[in-house]
Amino acid sequence: MPNIENIIEASGLVKRYGEVVALDGLDLSVREGSIVALLGPNGAGKTTAVSILTTLIEPDEGSATVAGVDVLRDPAEVRKLIGLSGQYAAVDEHLTGFENLDMIGRLYRLGRRRSKTRARELLERFDLTDAADRPVKTYSGGMRRRLDLAGALVAESPVLFLDEPTTGLDLPSRQELWRIIRDLVKRGATLLLTTQYLEEADRLADDVLVIDHGKAIAQGTSDELKDLVGGERLEVKVTDATYLPAAREILSRVAVGELQDDERPRVIVAPVSGGAPVLARVLADLDVTGVQVSDVVLRRPTLDDVFLVLTGNATQVVEEGAKPTSTRGGAA
């Protein structure tokens, strides 16, 4: 029986491409009206999961429902309930922005007049009115993404799937899209988005489902996930490697666990608890000892750290050739 509260339900999804196992028994549930992020590196199976839920491909095993409709038994019905914005902007570059949205409206069978009104509304909302009658070919990457996202919203579908909506965009475009996406859910839609940007999941999602090698390895709010990893961390960067032993010695006095070296040179990370007074003490000690620092940071764990802890260690990720999104580069 489909759970009415969970508007998206999937269990035991398996998809193989020859030798490659893209999904290895993925379970997933999304409450109505929430934003859930599927977070994982390239090749984790995010796009495959979305493709199954949006009826683009069939799983080898497992089952899934969207708004109670079985995606395998009644894909045509599911398509009426969903909006999809894919990883590659799925718009026709020879058509204008308006023509693209109008065409999508017609194909959702909104009717001639409604399609046109809806296209104008969305162009306005996505700040594309000026470019509405220009072929998409002339659009920037950010504009294309916005148009593509608008395409997913044409029919005001109750369930939206956004597959890596901001991959490849510069920061201003990304922030602009985040604003739009947050706004969407205020209007009552349910949203499943995939991302390899930890920051994106952190900022947008109510719930984060971390997936790796085709399996869910954790689910929770980003705070819950951060708690899995532990409390605060103090990072110290010294100006010269010769200061490292002294700095390590100072940090070990306040650390509540083992010190960690970092992939960044001359950086030591200490798990701490106690907040600002600890920071003050460390700073004082460093000053007294004459250790020169270029950077001191006290912070909560990021989803990066969560990802590292959940997926084992960083070296494993690198060895298997996956994009090291679990390192800081991905989120910074």
């Binding site: 009826t55 969903i82 799925a90 026709d92 020879h94 065409m103 069978r109």
Partner: protein, 267 residues
């Protein structure tokens, strides 16, 4: 109302394809130039060398050029689909509650418009170099209608090919290898009576011969004194062409739609 939806969705897709022709005028240039070139080359190069007793080779030729050009034009259908399948837009179509047949049906439909344009251009060029339609207006309309119907059927065949090949380049080469011989081993450009036996029999039963012969008859371009054809296809060329068009559509339309649905699932 599945059939109604399939039709209205196909029209939406056809409109989209036609907008592209409008936006990328280069496509139209080739649509227009190659038929003009065909008419001029054949009428002046071959037309001045080949004599037909009692008639004009240039007039004999036009029906053949019409037939060959519209059949070649079907490559455009395959190329359009092969191109679509490589673009992100196809993912959008697949996720929409639209008819599964619409992308292919819309493509073959928009290519009818393409063929109408190319036939008009060829006819005008033909009229300029001295070709005349000597039958009634109705005959002429039936003649062009027959060309369009047959071209439409070949469009479905090329649609399937377009969905099977990995890229547009492969499609162009593959179709050239097939279409060139079948349009030449026919009475498109020369009467087939004097061909070696094997080729003659092939030519006589080749639907493209029937198509060329039917339009030639309807346009009144059969030179007087030409012996009556002795084989059934050429005695009943209109019906024979229509039967072939029907068979080709009947076989290839379901195959192409099924292939689209399947290709759409490749993920």
């Amino acid at each position: 109302m599945n059939a109604f939806h399939a039709l209205s969705d196909s029209l939406v897709i056809a409109k989209r394809n036609l907008i592209k022709i409008k936006r990328v005028p280069d496509i139209l240039v080739f649509v227009l130039i190659s038929p003009i070139m065909f008419v001029l080359l054949f009428s002046y190069v071959f037309g001045s060398a080949i004599q037909i007793p009692g008639g004009s080779y240039r007039e004999f030729l036009m029906a053949g050029i019409f037939a060959q050009t519209v059949v070649f034009g079907a490559t455009f259908t395959g190329a359009g689909l092969a191109d679509d399948m490589q673009k992100g837009i196809i993912d959008r179509f697949r996720s929409l509650p639209m008819s599964r047949a619409a992308v292919v049906m819309g493509r073959t439909a928009s290519d009818v418009v393409y063929n109408v344009i190319s036939l008009m251009i060829m006819a005008l060029t033909g009229l300029l170099v001295g070709w005349r339609m000597r039958g009634s207006v109705i005959d002429a309309v039936v003649g062009f209608g027959l060309l369009l119907l047959f071209a439409y059927s070949i469009s479905w065949m090329m649609a399937l090919v377009g969905l099977l090949v990995p890229s547009v380049e492969v499609l162009n080469n593959a179709s050239f290898m097939v279409i060139f011989p079948i349009t030449f081993i026919a009475n498109t450009f020369v009467p087939s009576d004097n061909l070696p036996t094997v080729l003659r029999v092939f030519a006589e039963w080749n639907p493209i011969s029937a198509l060329a012969h039917a339009t030639r008859t309807l346009f009144g371009n059969i030179p007087p004194g030409t012996p009556e054809p002795t084989v059934w296809p050429l005695q009943n060329p209109i019906i024979y062409s229509i039967i072939w068009a029907g068979i080709i559509i009947g076989v290839f339309a379901p195959l192409a739609v099924r292939r689209y649905t399947k290709a759409a699932k490749k993920g």
